[in-house]
Symmetry: C2
Subunit: 319 residues, 2 copies
């Protein structure tokens, strides 16, 4: 049985392998080949915490995966991170424990960022280079880094905006150290107009910018909304978009970015990302299309990134 | 973080401590002080396996517990046990991982047996000494051993019956080595009539004996039925009993022993074991009562027995 801590996981992590497995996982999910259990939620109101359990299996693969992720929001005052998590893998043939990955939530952050980058690459114009990141947290930085890694051939320029100027400066400075061409920007509206790709990564509960600012041809990937009441984009942008794509329709319409738009239009049409990645759905049809992706996160991503670490550890063992 | 394997867990296990914590857990559960998430089920039809995830937290206690239990029924042909499992405990204050107990399902077997023994002791006549165990597997043996440990002052005699005579002989022989006064019996019906306590531990899907055989004053604890379609007792015994007790009403009526009886009587009255153990419900009213307990297993038991191991390990550390 593998038992790895975060340091060991970071050392084993191979970006390209993870991207391939996560891409395959989205396709499998859209094609109905992923068994995903309902998410378990435990709440701890007295200690300002909660815990989610996601679990599932991709048909035909070796292991099933159970992810336990918690957030205890008073932790920072104790010098601890709010988020915590472990991934567990079990043999789908014998039930034996295959791996305990004590990743402290890092694998979730990374699979989320890879998912967003895959979606942005798949749906943006082929000549898109101006990227606007809204938000300054871990996802803001990881989305930028993953997109840069996925599009090494393009001369990408990043802009970062956050409600707090200092945070935007710090995020830009950190990304710059990773070799990205990046600038913190103090005013959002003009940046919205000129971006080719907009990636939103905030916990907002209302639209971050006004309707009508997004130019034709822009692609938007919304990462932040993952529970009832959250919203980052103006409803009109979502309803008028040429194409709405999500990781899993049920989640997205119930508690993702598309929840607000689907309240006013119960028949809102959405396409699952796996169908775009597999080519079953043609994706963007013209350079003038506005495309919007909403990702709420699916167990298939957890399964894929866990398998990537297991594969890396196993091949290391063999060498 | 504690990381213990089965051998280490067995060494740390203290029966009395576990009994106390499990008894408290039943009371907390009946009083609404346990947060229990819906059970997650993953199925693996191609490999003849399944996995269940139970999770919860007892209000006011240090840790929440997640149990992952699997059954892969082709394992014995590979020289592996069918059942497997781990218990995970996390701080209900910070979310940090407190313990990984790789007990291979042993803690579940033990908490189930302690639950049955607590119920049998609480509801049988105070002068009950003749115990009939139906079934010859792990639960049959553990129920007998736990009941003997819980009633050291009584001169208990055990009888064991199973569909396969050799299995009954082997179970009796093993229990005898543990110091129990025990006899394997080849014919069931007369044993039903003369038992003071009957404990059923089989995966049966129809009544194991005919209606009308159970004498007045007998107590019955049914352990086997834990999913739709399972049944060990004649419906008439359940519906005519003076008292029906279960660990958790919803489970018992939906997929436990009481499921069949509740189909013919939707208003079937049941009492939760925690109320009997706390004294809120008076339990048996007369030596002529027939009482029936159905236990389907609750997360509170898992939480309690996990905490018992953590307590033992922590106090060992301190010594």
């Amino acid at each position: 049985m593998l038992d790895l801590n975060k340091t060991q996981i970071l050392k084993l992590f191979n970006f390209r392998e993870a991207v391939t497995l996560i891409q395959n996982a989205y396709v499998a999910n859209a094609e109905g080949d992923v068994q995903t259990a309902d998410v378990v939620h435990l709440g701890f109101p007295k200690t300002n915490g909660d815990c989610h359990i996601k679990s599932g299996h991709i048909e035909g693969t070796a292991n099933y995966v159970i992810k336990i992720a918690s957030g205890f929001y008073d932790n920072p005052s104790k010098g601890l991170a709010s988020s915590n998590g472990i991934m567990l893998a079990f043999s789908a043939t014998t039930g034996e424990t295959v791996a305990i990955l004590r990743d402290e939530g890092w694998l979730t952050d990374m699979r989320t960022a890879i998912g967003g980058a895959l979606a942005s690459r798949a749906l943006a114009r082929s000549n898109a280079t101006a990227i606007l990141i809204i938000g300054t947290g871990i996802q803001a930085k990881l989305q930028a880094q993953c997109l840069a890694k996925l599009m090494p051939e393009r001369d990408l320029s990043f802009r970062v905006w956050g409600r707090t100027w200092l945070n935007a400066e710090n995020a830009a400075s950190e990304l710059s150290k990773h070799g990205l061409n990046v600038l913190a920007v103090p005013v959002l509206d003009n940046e919205i107009r000129s971006a080719d790709i907009i990636i939103t990564t905030t916990p907002a509960t209302a639209a971050l910018f006004a309707e009508g600012l997004v130019s034709s041809g822009t692609h938007v990937t919304a990462i932040g909304a993952d529970s009832p009441g959250k919203q980052e984009l103006p409803v009109g942008l979502v309803t008028s978009a040429s194409l709405r794509v999500c990781d899993i329709a049920r989640q997205s319409l119930e508690h993702g970015e598309f929840q607000t738009a689907s309240k006013s239009d119960a028949s809102l049409a959405v396409t699952e990302l796996g169908h775009v990645l597999s080519g079953t759905h043609g994706g963007r049809q013209s350079d003038d299309d506005i495309s919007v992706v909403d990702l709420t996160g699916i167990a298939a991503q957890d399964i894929a990134i866990t398998q990537a670490i297991i594969d890396a550890a196993t091949s290391t063992d063999k060498n």
